[in-house]
């Protein structure tokens, strides 16, 4: 029986809605959980980081100015796309995390449900985190949560899809744009999910997915002066050093933490509170 030779896929970066190779031309080998070769993946450079942050900065105002309802529809659409390509995601999760097919498929299901959960948050965070304040005097005073801006996410090292969804969807759903560095050793589920974002009406630049060396790129992201928020989940060993770099421009930092409801913590991590005072009188 002659077997058909499969057509293999090139895995690239996601920057500004396009899928470039690294401007450096570098790649690195990704292996599966058993050490077998899976693919040569783009190894992003400092300049790719620069381009991704620039794209995120440009895209963020439009993403935030879209209605919360619209952002919810887009994230839900992302979940629809992920579900429709669940098999493909599951295969990569299985390879990356060493899971059997059933467990991998279950993980994808949880990731999709998580995305749906975040989709529902877009038009609810304001109601949960904001509110009116009964100040003394003839004033109407209210507080609104607003996004920090551009959030750099060092995605979890181990949880290649579920962890990635949590780390990326949380800042997105409150109106931030994201530059995510996928798990260095298990990047492919994140790359796939990034591809799906491009068919989910997510405007280019709102989500950017980089692959490459954590040691090389994390300091670049942490010290980038136009990054407003930094999620250090994927760099527990270097969190202190990276946070110190981020301090130069008072970047908001989310430290890795175990226990508690990580996703709600993430939801609050990259929002600011804006309070408005308005006079009341005839």
């Amino acid at each position: 029986m002659s077997e058909r030779l499969d057509v293999r896929k090139t895995y690239k970066l996601l920057i500004d809605g396009a899928f470039p190779r690294s401007e450096s031309g570098r790649t690195y080998e990704v292996l599966d959980a058993r050490g077998a070769f899976v693919a040569n993946v783009a190894r992003a450079s400092r300049k790719d980081v620069r381009d991704a942050v620039r794209a995120a900065r440009a895209a963020q105002p439009r993403w935030w100015s879209a209605s919360a309802y619209n952002r919810g529809q887009v994230l839900y659409r992302w979940a629809e796309m992920a579900e429709s390509r669940a098999g493909e995601l599951a295969a990569q999760v299985a390879a990356a995390e060493g899971l059997d097919a059933t467990d991998a498929r279950a993980s994808v299901g949880r990731a999709v449900d998580r995305l749906v959960w975040y989709a529902g948050w877009t038009d609810k965070v304001t109601q949960v985190l904001g509110g009116a304040n009964p100040v003394a005097g003839p004033f109407f005073n209210f507080s609104l949560p607003v996004p920090s801006g551009v959030v750099a996410v060092l995605a979890p090292r181990d949880s290649s899809l579920e962890g990635f969804v949590d780390a990326v969807a949380a800042p997105l759903c409150v109106g931030n744009a994201v530059v995510a560095l996928a798990s260095e050793t298990r990047p492919l589920p994140a790359v796939l999910l990034g591809e799906m974002s491009a068919t989910a009406d997510l405007p280019g630049g709102v989500v950017n997915v980089l692959t490459g060396s954590l040691d090389e790129l994390a300091p670049v992201l942490a010290s980038h002066e136009d990054v407003d928020g930094l999620d250090l989940e994927g760099a527990p060993d270097a969190a202190g050093e990276l946070a110190a770099l981020a301090a130069a421009t008072i970047t908001r930092v989310l430290f890795p933490r175990t226990g508690g409801d990580a996703s709600l913590r993430r939801l609050r991590a990259f929002v600011e509170t804006t309070t408005v005072w308005h006079t009341v009188g005839q």
Partner: protein, 488 residues
């Protein structure tokens, strides 16, 4: 040869040719049964009642009249579904059903818009741009709550009430169904929905959508019928919650009926909304807002801005502009995409409007009605404005629920507030001014559930809607809308 310039007289008024939406988009069955336990009952098993197109008086379909025994079956199906399925379905799974329903409404939006317009008489522009998208948005919004109830501010593990009996009006048939079903299902209740007797069709299409969404049988049951059907639902001991939208008169009766029972109740009743216009209002947008406030949906809106309170210094100016704008309203075929004002929903409602307008004339108010031509068949009423209205006139006190505006004047903000509050209702008010501090001052003193500033008749699933005083209690929309279906 030189081509000639076009003379204006050759075009005349840019009189739009008819641009009718196709009624064949509505795939209606000749007759409908009840939707109980996930399936339609045999139409032949029930008394069949025609539902007519109010624009033509033609019968669209016949629908079943649910008797008390049918209501009982529906409630028992809902109870069974609650006990065996829905109360053990996780929030995340309930959410996904609701998202499916939202998507299916979006997919079948055009068909639903046509059905709504045929059955109700509202302009296709409104059913297409307001009713149907908002209905989908409502399911979408509450879908997002189903899997995060613990964050809604009602405690760590808020519980549903059980079986909800929901009675909705004819003015926004599908939208009211969405307002009722979405939060109830998100919170974990099962439902028995009773659509209005003159507008049952979109709810029956919704039943098909629930089947396409594979919602477990019995989670939503839809029983068509009249007031007797509604009464049977209210009186059924198996119902844990009654949610009613409709007239204050019926609301009063329902509250009396459930008094002393453990039944939860929310009521969304009538109104006599005041649209308050100050002399610094943005004049063109304000005129549009007054028009929207009273002529949207032929004035069949419980929160309609049916009283215009205008500051004396600008009264003449506002009325002149208003009259010009009323003359421009295009009244006629609801399926025409260019129609602004459609048909009155029923002969009975038309009679009620005519009676109150006659009373207005008798009591000495000055009537102006649009000179628009009205179709021969169907139920129609020309957009009408009354001036020289006093607070004591019936047209200033009673809900007309039609395209009739009563204009009063005021001199100071206090007087505006006093006049606006001089009603037993308290659903909605509008304030028009470019001075924010005064708008907020007025808003804090108005006794109304919803206050719009420099806009009117805005609805959003995230925004609570409902009244105070005899306009009812309980809220639909936002977090308070969720509370109406939780045991909190």
């Amino acid at each position: 040869m030189s081509s000639r310039p076009l003379a204006n007289s050759e075009l005349g008024w840019l009189a739009y040719d008819p641009a009718p939406e196709s009624s064949s988009l509505a795939r209606l069955a000749p007759s409908y049964g009840l939707f109980i336990d996930g399936a339609f009952t045999d139409p032949g098993a029930h008394q069949q009642v025609p539902t007519v197109n109010p624009a033509t008086e033609a019968t669209l379909a016949t629908v079943a009249h649910a008797a008390a025994a049918d209501v009982d079956r529906a409630v028992r199906a809902a109870r069974h579904a609650y006990d065996t399925v829905w109360s053990v379905t996780s929030g995340a799974e309930r959410a996904k059903y609701l998202y499916r329903i939202a998507r299916l409404i979006q997919e079948r939006a055009r068909e639903l818009a046509v059905v709504e317009t045929l059955d109700n008489g509202k302009p296709i522009r409104e059913s297409r741009d307001v009713d149907i998208p908002l209905a989908a948005a409502h399911f979408f919004y509450y879908a997002g709550w189903a899997d995060k109830l613990e964050h809604a501010g009602f405690g760590a593990d808020p519980r549903p009430l059980g079986v909800a009996g929901q009675i909705i009006p004819w003015n926004f048939p599908l939208l009211m169904a969405a307002w009722k079903l979405a939060p109830a299902l998100a919170a974990g209740n099962t439902c028995v929905l009773k659509p209005a007797e003159t507008t049952p069709l979109s709810a029956l299409i919704l039943a098909e959508i629930l089947q396409q969404a594979e919602l477990p049988p019995g989670v939503v049951n839809i029983v068509t019928g009249d007031g007797a059907t509604g009464a049977a639902l209210v009186e059924h001991p198996g119902v844990d919650k009654i949610a009613f939208t409709g007239s204050t008169e019926v609301g009063r009766a329902i509250q009396a009926r459930v008094a002393g029972r453990a039944t939860h109740l929310t009521l969304e009743l009538g109104g006599k909304g005041a649209n308050i216009v100050f002399d610094d209002a943005p004049i063109d947008e304000m005129v549009e807002g007054i028009i929207d406030g009273i002529f949207f949906n032929q004035g069949h809106v419980c929160c309609a801005g049916s009283r215009l309170l205008v500051q004396e210094t600008v009264a003449d100016e506002v009325l002149r502009r208003l009259q010009r704008r009323v003359e421009q309203l295009r009244v006629g075929d609801p399926l025409d995409k260019n129609t602004d004002v459609g048909a009155i929903n029923s002969r009975a409602q038309l009679a009620r409007i005519e009676e109150l307008v006659a009373a207005g004339e008798r009591e000495g108010a000055t009537r102006y009605s649009s000179s628009c031509a009205l179709p021969e068949h169907g139920y129609w009423f020309a957009p009408t404005v009354f001036t020289d209205v006093s607070q004591s006139h019936r047209i200033a006190r009673e809900e007309i629920f039609g395209p009739v505006l009563s204009v009063l004047t005021f001199r100071t903000p206090e007087e505006a507030v006093a006049k606006a509050n001089n009603t037993t209702y308290g659903l909605a008010c509008g304030v028009w001014s470019e001075k924010g501090s005064r708008t907020l001052w007025v808003a804090q003193r108005l006794r109304a559930g919803v206050i719009w500033a420099n806009t009117y008749n805005r609805f959003d699933p995230t925004s609570p809607f409902g009244g105070v005083r005899e306009s009812g209690f309980g809220r639909e929309g936002g977090r308070p809308g969720l509370a109406a279906y939780l045991d909190v």
